[in-house]
Assembly symmetry: C2
Homo-oligomer: 320 residues x 2
């Protein structure tokens, strides 16, 4: 089976490609090739099967035959313009996140065999007029354009699946931390940089107060759940193919104390607490308290504690 | 103020145009012209101001300057391919209901002054994995392509309003009955024809059992609520510009008994009960039990009893 990763140059796409290469199979079928797609060319990957890499824009319908080859069996659609950019540049976000997703789904529909499609949604679909904690059947009332575009993607994944055009599954990702790499335009970027930079001897600024809470998970948990999403039988999803992933509800203060337990006082001393009212307001509007019962019932997993997240970062992203 | 009605040839668009003509103002501003748009040319309308009528396809972006003139102050977007057709012809539904709505919103965004936009959504957005009765903060998990496209429209109306591109308001319409005219491709078409036809001496078939329930309202209530939606101050809508309208929860059996009370035994004897498993299954999947608390708080109104609906039909649609 050919597996396609749209967003294959991002850190999740990269880690997923490595994981699938190590596993060698998905949903009981041998992986015979991997096709990595992104707006920039994904890096080379060593694998016991062919790995193709292409740079293209999913917002252009003409690119779709190259993005999703005719013999694709499974498609991970992780590609997106992130929250901060989608808010600042409305049209850029709509093109990538709405029309890009429509193009992907239409291309998948045109294949001879309806492919498995795993869509990365986000807890940014939550907000607005809902009580807490958030149950599985609560309204998606996003308060950002990014969240709006992801919620629309979920509706489309559901309807394309119901019609039999694809076998779709959508996961609302928690804020993933500690993520490797550089800060990006996501409003949540600080939630990784205040650990990643100090753990590597650099200073970092925390723009929210220690009391601010987030719904978080580690890169390892996200990758495991993206694989698990493909493994579940179609029938088990019921009438909603999209769900919130398990995560941890943690305050920034608790997360920093977890880093202290694992890595000592020194990294903690490199965090400067400089509240930024704009970012504080955005984070305060992210409902962090979820009850992801359907996901737990279907076997998706959360991390045990943020100390693990710190350890995973040290093991996976620094020490090798 | 110029008021635009997209879907101006439909029965709701027609009744709304008549109502606005009688009122002469909307949200405290004098109506100076009415612009009626539909896929077929709307019928002439006598009014004390200019009434323009055009036939065009909202799915074509090139048509938008003609659909929504530059000096439009309020836009009612009622145009849609109905549920039965959107399910049978997926691409037709997507073109009209998704891309048509995107075209309307983009055109409204391009106007010098952000216009008031009233969007007709539907209780077809409900279904799937939600408990009953339906609260205002429950998930939109539609089980038809029509419902999916309406739910996407709601998300867009919310985001375009949040960004200040429009001043949007969306109403989830109950099944409107008794509607005048001919049967159409809506799966709910029978819910009017089993009253409309017998009240005019003709036979009609009821394809569901008397126990089947629906969430209903009269044309008069819908028109009053469409006007009211424009009158409410923007701030009162909060973080969700879309809501479920009040309605009546009634079984087909109760509705028929209401017709008997108003019009006697003869019309009732003209209904043939011939259950159709396909339509029964569709109707059984329409959750009919709603708690539209936000709408009631904002002053939207339901009918008092289905007997009124029968009387309104006799007064408004036969006897004049």
């Amino acid at each position: 089976m050919k597996v396609v990763i749209l967003g294959g140059a991002g850190f999740i796409g990269r880690k997923l490609a490595e994981k699938l290469t190590a596993l060698g199979e998905l949903k009981g079928r041998e992986i015979t090739s991997l096709h990595l797609v992104d707006i920039v060319e994904p890096l080379p990957l060593e694998a016991p099967f062919p790995v193709t890499r292409v740079a293209l824009d999913l917002a252009k319908a003409d690119n779709m035959a190259q993005a999703v080859p005719a013999d694709s069996g499974a498609v991970y659609h992780l590609a997106a313009v992130v929250s901060g950019q989608a808010e600042a540049e409305f049209d850029t976000g709509m093109q990538a996140n709405l029309f890009g997703t429509l193009n992907v789904l239409e291309r998948c529909r045109a294949l001879a065999e309806p492919p498995l499609v795993v869509f990365a949604s986000s807890v940014a679909v939550y907000g607005g007029e809902i009580p807490l904690p958030i149950e599985d059947w609560y309204l998606l009332n996003p308060q950002t354009s990014y969240g709006t575009q992801k919620a629309i993607g979920e509706l489309l994944v559901n309807d394309y699946s119901r019609k039999g055009f694809i076998d779709g599954r959508g996961l609302r990702l928690p804020t993933v931390t500690v993520r490797p790499g550089k800060p990006n335009a996501a409003a949540s970027s600080f939630a990784s940089s205040i650990f990643r930079e100090p753990l590597q001897g650099e200073e970092a600024v925390c723009p929210v107060a220690p009391e601010a809470t987030m719904w978080i998970c580690s890169p390892r948990a996200v990758i495991a759940n993206l694989v698990h999403a493909a493994e579940i039988e179609a029938e088990a999803w019921g009438k909603n193919r999209c769900l919130a992933l398990p995560g941890l509800l943690a305050s920034l203060g608790e997360m920093v104390e977890a880093m202290r337990k694992v890595a000592g006082d020194e990294p903690v001393s490199r965090i400067r607490w400089e509240p930024d009212p704009t970012i504080q307001k955005i984070v305060a509007n992210w409902p962090a308290d979820l009850k992801p019962e359907k996901a737990l019932r279907l076997g998706f997993k959360a991390d045990q504690s943020f100390e693990d997240n710190i350890r995973y970062f040290l093991e996976d992203d620094i020490r090798r």
